[in-house]
């Protein structure tokens, strides 16, 4: 399959509009609990999922909605799942972190790192029973420090399994900057296990597409696993309503609730020496300031804007194209919301 920017742009835009509309449902209170979006990851997902064939498997993390949508799972059934309806994709049992589609061999997990063993097992079945098919694992950089992820990479290397390990690196594990707690370099870690590693920019659709094409070809032809490291930015932070982003977006409203108890704690008699307290305060402030300087706020990090730049050379076609996709997604929502089960 040749690289087709229009087709990939369509996948990305659909996913973006779909997830933005999910965000609205969440803010309106129609979805309870956590909601992790994949907005900002679309180029990574589209570049890889568009190259999957029938029989290929996917192991997804807590941001699996985009991948399922791009893989061709019925969007109405995903939405009705998120709304908790009995005719949803998983009959209201799974929710966004636990989406499963047996016919697409796609399984999600909210357990960080579980994508490693899952993709490895799917790949074992592929190697044994369906040669030529492969498995992909999508996960964050935080998951790289989970024991089972490293064990899976080793197992996949030792058994020469057809897996693509895709690390979507946004630099953050919820409120923790992952680099501060990660030893060494992730690509070197993969190479140390005998797995070829490629670094790509998560906004660079063609770069992702080419790197994954090679990795997928390797896997299909029995040459074993690959590791793809793609940097990206989560435009909505860790999840919707994320406190650090709330601070960045509205510091005057959010800061007092945090600053008052913090000040009281620093001034409390007994406890650490002044030096220790200052070091502690520095840590808290650095997390807050990194959020204020957050790359999430820069549209240069938005893969959709990135891809769109090239397509802008065909303004009329682009306009029609986008209108059509918007209509499609709005039809999906109208249809998903039309009938509320009693």
């Amino acid at each position: 399959m040749p690289f087709n920017l229009w087709l990939l742009y369509a996948l990305m835009l659909k996913s973006r509009l779909f997830e933005e509309a999910i965000a609205k449902l969440w803010y309106d209170g129609l979805i309870s609990g956590e909601m992790h979006l994949g907005t900002g990851e679309e180029a990574i997902i589209a570049g890889i999922v568009s190259q999957l064939r029938e029989g290929d498997a996917m192991a997804l993390d807590h941001r699996g909605t985009a991948a399922l949508l791009m893989r061709g799972v019925d969007p109405v059934s995903i939405l009705r799942e998120l709304l908790g309806y009995p005719d949803g994709l998983c009959r209201g049992m799974g929710g966004h972190m636990h989406l499963f589609s047996k016919e697409h061999l796609a399984a999600s997990s909210g357990i960080v790192g579980a994508e490693g063993p899952t993709a490895t097992g799917f790949a074992l079945s592929a190697q044994y029973a369906h040669p030529g098919t492969i498995a992909v694992a999508f996960f964050g950089e935080g998951a790289m420090n989970q024991g089972m992820m490293m064990e899976s990479m080793n197992l996949a290397a030792a058994w020469n399994l057809p897996v693509l390990f895709v690390c979507k690196d946004d630099g953050w594990s919820i409120t923790t900057q992952s680099e501060s707690l990660t030893g060494g370099d992730l690509n070197e870690r993969a190479r140390g296990l005998g797995i070829p590693a490629v670094e790509v920019d998560g906004c660079d659709l063609s770069g992702i597409w080419e790197a994954s094409q090679l990795a997928i070809e390797r896997a299909r032809s029995g040459q074993g696993p690959s590791f793809l490291h793609a940097r990206c930015v989560h435009l909505e932070g860790h999840f919707l309503g994320f406190q650090l982003l709330r601070i960045a977006r509205n510091p005057l409203r959010e800061m007092p609730d945090i600053a008052l108890p913090l000040t009281r704690s620093i001034l409390r008699p007994r406890g650490g020496a002044l030096r220790e307290r200052a070091a502690g305060l520095k840590k808290v402030l650095s997390a807050v300031f990194s959020t204020l300087r957050d790359p999430r706020r820069d549209s240069a990090n938005d893969p959709i804007q990135h891809a769109r730049k090239t397509l802008l050379s065909y303004p009329v076609r682009l306009n029609d194209f986008e209108d059509q996709i918007k209509q499609e997604i709005s039809d999906v929502f109208a249809s998903a919301l039309a009938e509320v089960p009693s």
Binding site: W26, Y27, D28, G29, I31, S32, G33, E34, M35, E81, G84, Y85, C90, G92, M93, G94, G95, M97, H98, G110, I111, V112, G113, G142, N145, Q146, G147, M148, S173, I174, T175, T176, S178, S180, L181, F239, L240, G241, F242, Q243, L244, R246, I258, P261, L262, S265, I266, R268, R270, G271, G272, A273, E276, R277, A279, G280, L281, K283, V284, A287
Partner: protein
């Protein structure tokens, strides 16, 4: 006395203990931000963040405890113990027995648990029965801010591994972080007395293994723990209006179980209803029946527990988690 929220009370008790005992350190994922008020008071040597490597940092916490520290290890949710169970099952729980009683691992695990806010079956389990099944582990499940602080202090003074479960529905902080995300468009029916309450100015440890009779009752004894205690109390009020007197025992500690308190109460009423948010089979509810039977007491028995995997959809959750309606029906049936 002062008034604190549930999570604040736990943090407050930990702070008091940290002042008195320099061996106490706190670590876990996102702890620098989640426990920022401890971090700015005690500094980054004692309050630390960890990578998402539960097997490593929980296992390290167990061994650090053996070597003389008093670590408070935080996990994001009790469900995630699945990743690192070995540290508890085969190490923390075994040290004392294997060393012939000469060595222990005084580590405290502080972990959110419980459901009802729509996060699904991998994020809302209770699992205290599963943990209490293992000899050598102490399992605490407080239901009010005052108990939470007092039991945390006891945990920090205890000479073996303690699992301290903090119900997310009682914790304003967790419910906002994971449930509402600061929205006003979702509603959670949180019990007022569980989420906020008066606590002592200076914390005193609440003895481990001591249940509390929260309500006297003549006709039936409801034994419960954690969030469900509040559902039981609310139902008892309704039943009172209908002439049924239901007593409520709050276990507070799942292991070791306060057998005496349970047996005394059931001996008086002759009826036991267990309300347990953990799974029904092979757990706390069956254990309580066994304990009372072994004591030779004759009684009628029923249980309201979590039936199967917890669904994501909130209306489905309501059907399988314990709630006032299910408790009410069970008591009425026991009274027939």
């Amino acid at each position: 006395m002062k008034t604190l929220f549930f999570t604040q009370a736990i943090d407050d008790a930990i702070a008091q203990a940290m002042v008195d005992d320099p061996r106490i350190i706190v670590f876990g994922e996102d702890v620098p931000l989640l426990r920022r008020n401890l971090l700015v008071r005690f500094g980054p040597k004692r309050v630390r963040g960890t990578p998402i490597s539960e097997s490593a940092f929980l296992g390290a916490g167990v061994a650090a405890a053996m070597a003389g520290l008093r670590p408070v290890v935080e996990l994001y949710m009790v469900d995630f113990l699945g990743v690192c169970m070995d540290a508890l099952l085969n190490h923390a729980a075994k040290v004392e027995a294997f060393s012939g009683g000469k060595w222990t691992a005084p580590v405290v695990l502080r972990i959110p648990c419980g459901g009802g806010y729509g996060d699904g079956g991998q994020h809302e389990q209770s699992l205290w029965g599963w943990l209490a099944h293992i000899p050598g582990l102490t399992v605490l499940v407080p239901s009010t801010p005052a108990d939470a602080g007092g039991l945390m202090l006891a945990a920090l003074q205890h000479d073996g591994p303690v699992i301290f479960l903090e119900h997310k529905f009682l914790s304003e902080t967790w419910l906002e972080f994971l449930g509402s995300g600061a929205r006003r468009t979702v509603h959670y029916d949180v019990p007022a007395e569980g989420t906020k309450g008066t606590v002592p100015h200076k914390w005193e440890p609440i003895p481990v293994g001591k249940a509390l009779l929260r309500r006297q009752g003549e006709d039936v004894t409801i034994v419960s723990v954690g969030l469900s205690v509040h559902h039981a109390l609310e139902t008892a009020k309704t039943l009172e209006k209908e002439g049924i007197s239901a007593g409520v025992v709050d276990l507070r500690t799942v292991s070791p179980l306060d057998k005496t308190a349970v047996c005394e109460a059931v001996a008086q009423t002759g009826r036991l209803l267990v309300v347990d948010e953990d799974y029904e089979g092979f757990g706390l509810s069956g254990e309580l029946a066994a304990v009372v039977l072994e004591a030779g007491i004759s009684f009628k028995y029923a249980r309201v527990c979590t039936e199967g995997t917890i669904p994501y959809a909130r209306h489905l959750e309501d059907q399988i988690l314990p709630n006032t309606e299910r408790i009410y029906k069970s008591v009425r049936k026991l009274m027939e």
